[in-house]
Every structure is written in structure tokens, then in C-alpha cells.
Subunit: 167 residues, 2 copies
């Protein structure tokens, strides 16, 4: 169930602070969607950014409410490409879901990618039933399916790659 | 033109030494196939392995001749998957090409992936004409095309992903 709160009070910011790390961990845990290894990966992206800065290739956009991060995207240009970006991670704290924060984060991320010279961006998810709403969300956002790789994550758990061109 | 040399004297080894770094650089440069950024990525994989060890997730197989690395693969399990591996890099020094070293490297890499519990492995390349022989090599090795992502690397430069199941 979504918390009643004033979405107009959400602040969006790009800089990553060490103090965000536990909140990001909490967000990822709260969704009940990610495996132990996936959570490790989420935190690894944060640590890479904290230790290497922009050289890490990982960019972030945070949604903050009452001084605390409640959702974020992690994205970046795909090395070796011209103008292709990947959204590596998008998550909104379970208690704040259902308020359009994910959509706002993704819209603003798309704008940031455009400003960085991006021509298209990718996002991927699993073919499992659990991710049906995630897939519908991406499709309704304007992504189209670009690849389906059967059994990629595990037997009977394929990877679907979506792409959206930036006008 | 291929150098005349005794392929039986090639030694295959897995450990990466700091002294291999300049030879790897030389191999990648020699192929005339990779952009500046791709060469940087190749060297970054080496540096990640040297600094983080097996925690980097990057495994290597080297073909050595007369005490010098002349070809190699870099591969690893794809994080977040069960049994899916990626061959991130395969290259043979230009002067030693045409002797089946690439095929041997890939065969031995497949065996190593199998020993690590891999069930399938991926390799990817560009759809550009320049990579036609690379694509034919992968297909003749037993890979099948799993995805084609138009304009992935750049406009008119798509990514083709191949997969091979491990029996």
C-alpha cells in the first residue's frame, strides 16, 4: 500500500553522497524483487561511483523526500558505443510505490541522457511472471522490445531488452 | 600473412602476470580491429583482474609462444545469472592468425566454462562488414545468433549476440 504523501515535495538530485548508501540498500531490499547477488550488484555500482567518481561511468538520479532517498536510477553510456545508454537500475522504495515516482525518474533520466548526447537507451528485465508489471511499465513508457534471450538469467528465466530512441 | 611456426609449441595457461599487460596491448593493437576506446576496455579488464584478482569476475586464458602471450580470451560468469558466461574478449596477434589459435582458445575456454558449472556462453560482435569473418567463425564454432540489436554500437552498427549451449 502506498503511503499518503505530497509528491510535490519530492526533490530530484544527481549527486551521490556516502550517506545515500544505506538508503539505497534499504530501497532495494524493500522491493522484495532482488536476489542477494542483485543487491550486491546494486551496492557495487554505488561503491564504484563513490570511489571512482564520473570515471566509473555510472550516473545517478535520486528522488528524495524529507531528506531521504526514496527512489533512484543508475545509468550511463555503454562503453564502446556512440550514443547508446543503459539504465542499469531503477527502484522505488516499496512504501512510496504507486505514486508515479518511477515514471518521473525515468522521464528525467531520459532528459539527462539526451543532454549527454544519447540517441537511444536500453533497459532490461526478466521474462518471469514476477516482472510482468515491470515489462508493462517499460512498454507504456515508450520502450519497445529489442531482444529476448531465452534462459539468459537461468533456465526458464529469459532476458528481455527494451530500447527507446531519443528524438 | 601468418608466420611459419610450430603450433605444438604453444602453451596454454590461465594465470595473468603483470608482464602480460604490454603483450596484451600489443595483440589488441596488432589486429587493427579495435577503436581507442575498445583498446582501453581490453586493458581495463586486465587491470581489474590484476588489482582485484578473482573477485573481478574476469577469467583469462592465454596462448603463449616462446615466452610471450600471442592470443587470449577474457571471460566470466555473468553476474546475476545461473550458469551464463560471457566471452568478453578474444584476440590473436595478427602475425599469428590463420593457425587455428583462436579456435583452440575458444574450445579450451568452453571447457573451462563447463568446469565452472556454465550451461551456456555468449559472445558478441558488430554487424558491420568488417566483422563478417568474425561472425562466420562464431557460427562455425557452434554459436547461434540469439539477438540482433540494430544501431547498438552506432547508427548502422548493430550488435549481434551469439549463444552456445554447453552439453
Amino acid at each position: 500500500m502506498a503511503l499518503p504523501f505530497n509528491t510535490e515535495k519530492i526533490i530530484y538530485r544527481r549527486d551521490l553522497q556516502p550517506a545515500d548508501r544505506p538508503h539505497i540498500y534499504e530501497i532495494v531490499i524493500s522491493t522484495d524483487f532482488f536476489s542477494k547477488e542483485e543487491i550486491d550488484i546494486a551496492i557495487e555500482l554505488v561503491d564504484e561511483r563513490l570511489s571512482k567518481g564520473s570515471r566509473s561511468g555510472y550516473l545517478f538520479l535520486f528522488a528524495e523526500y524529507a531528506g531521504q532517498v526514496i527512489g533512484y536510477t543508475c545509468y550511463g553510456r555503454i562503453a564502446g558505443t556512440v550514443g547508446s545508454f543503459d539504465v542499469y537500475w531503477i527502484a522505488v522504495h516499496r512504501l512510496f510505490q504507486g505514486n508515479g515516482i518511477g515514471k518521473s525518474l525515468l522521464q528525467k533520466t531520459e532528459q539527462l541522457i539526451m543532454k549527454e548526447g544519447g540517441r537511444r537507451f536500453y533497459i532490461e528485465t526478466s521474462s518471469r511472471d514476477q516482472y510482468k508489471n515491470t515489462r508493462l511499465f517499460y512498454l507504456s513508457f515508450g520502450f519497445r522490445q529489442d531482444a529476448f534471450m531465452k534462459d539468459f538469467y537461468a533456465p526458464e528465466d529469459g532476458k528481455i531488452v527494451y530500447v527507446k530512441n531519443i528524438p
